[in-house]
Amino acid sequence: MGMQAAFASVYPIAPPHIVGLMRQKLLRFLFVTHATGLDDLLTSIARGDSSAFESVYDQTASMVYGLTLRILRSPALAEEVTQEVYLQIWRQADRFDANRAPARAWIATLAHRRAVDAVRRIQSARDREQGLIGEPAAPDASERAIEHEESARLTKALGKLSDLQRQVIELAYFGGLTQNQVAERLGAPLGTVKTRMRDGLQRLRSVMRDDHV
């Protein structure tokens, strides 16, 4: 019932064949149809509509929080970054351009940029201190818990990639490394890294469209 109610608020005139779909299929539907509901909500936010903002939060918070948590590996930092992301959505909704990417992609990109920006700053501060504090601390309990909770669907989707495709995408997208850092880390030529990023993402896209991950 909860899913249908949420769905009805996105699509006031819900196509009957959609109502009752499972969550995963709904997500797939949102991708494939470019989530017109969220697009419209962002347009309303740009006009200062705070109830549209609440709806956007409810539909995207688990994605934004989950992604930032996976990248930052700290619930406290993930919460802070999530707050920043929504403040940015509220202030910059007028910059959203549905012709370039659907709303869900725009929000995922904002969240990813914020989280990676934070990771890079922390990393560069750590690099400066490395000589003073020695080895980095062992991962704490919350970090290990996140690893254990790694979603089976994500593992399955990444499992459809070659080893190198998976590594370059994981290091860049979840590790926050630049393409140069990825090449250095893997000891692979930059050209190869670029190619694997590209064909790896295209492969993921076809996995997403064709398979029931």
Binding site: M63, Y65, E79, Q83, R104, I133, A157, K194, R205
Partner: protein
């Protein structure tokens, strides 16, 4: 041109450094095929974001909603990150000749450095280094920098002490000058930003140097 096309996947993964990303964005404005491919690759990265979903803490929703009602009252991301990356105190070594050469209050500073309970705190950042040496018994500390470039015209460096209640201005300075601080407490963050001439009541620029008392 073909070199530019090659950056599309790394851009979708946010794996370019600032310069490369800027270059690619200019290319994107004039290249239909990259815009088309970027939209495709963003479907894949958004898929990864969605597969990372995790339930956000329930109280986060209220915090996000209240910040759009009272904007500007939150600490920025940079402050949080600086806290996470708080610098480790260096063991007090030598005086910083470059700063001390331009000191007006040499005796006062010398007393702080020579106090039996003088405690040094290192400030790290991409733009240079800083050191805050304070004595609890004297209730005074001195802040000095090294390698900091001259502030651009119409702007000034500002020192901040940050705690649970937010950032507090602790003095304005030019590159190479020292600042004497007489209101601080253990556990506070100390940080430097670049501010408009005359300084600010709350930081407006990014953190250049930071450390923890």
């Amino acid at each position: 041109m073909s070199e530019e096309h090659d950056l599309v996947a790394a851009y979708a993964l946010n794996a370019l450094d600032e310069l490369e990303a800027h270059r690619f964005e200019r290319h994107l404005d004039e290249c239909d095929s990259c815009r088309r491919e970027l939209a495709e690759l963003l479907e894949a990265t958004t898929f990864l974001a969605d597969l990372s979903s995790a339930a956000a803490p329930t109280d986060l929703r209220q915090r996000v909603l209240s910040q759009i009602q009272a904007p500007g009252r939150r600490r920025g991301l940079a402050w949080i990150v600086a806290t996470a990356a708080a610098a480790v105190a260096l063991v007090f070594g030598s005086l910083w000749a470059t700063s001390l050469a331009r000191l007006d209050h040499f005796e006062q500073v010398a007393a702080i450095y020579q106090a039996a309970d003088a405690q040094p705190t290192a400030l790290a950042g991409a733009e240079g280094e800083g050191r805050f040496t304070h004595s609890v018994s004297l209730g005074q500390g001195v802040f000095a920098t090294e390698d900091l470039a001259d502030a651009p015209a119409d702007s000034v460096y500002e020192l901040w002490l940050i705690d649970d209640t937010g950032p507090h201005p602790a003095g304005l300075f030019e590159a190479g000058e020292a600042v004497i601080v007489d209101d601080f407490s253990p556990g506070q963050m100390i940080a430097v930003t670049l501010e408009p001439a005359g300084g600010s009541d709350l930081p407006t620029g990014p953190i250049l140097l930071s450390g923890q008392l």
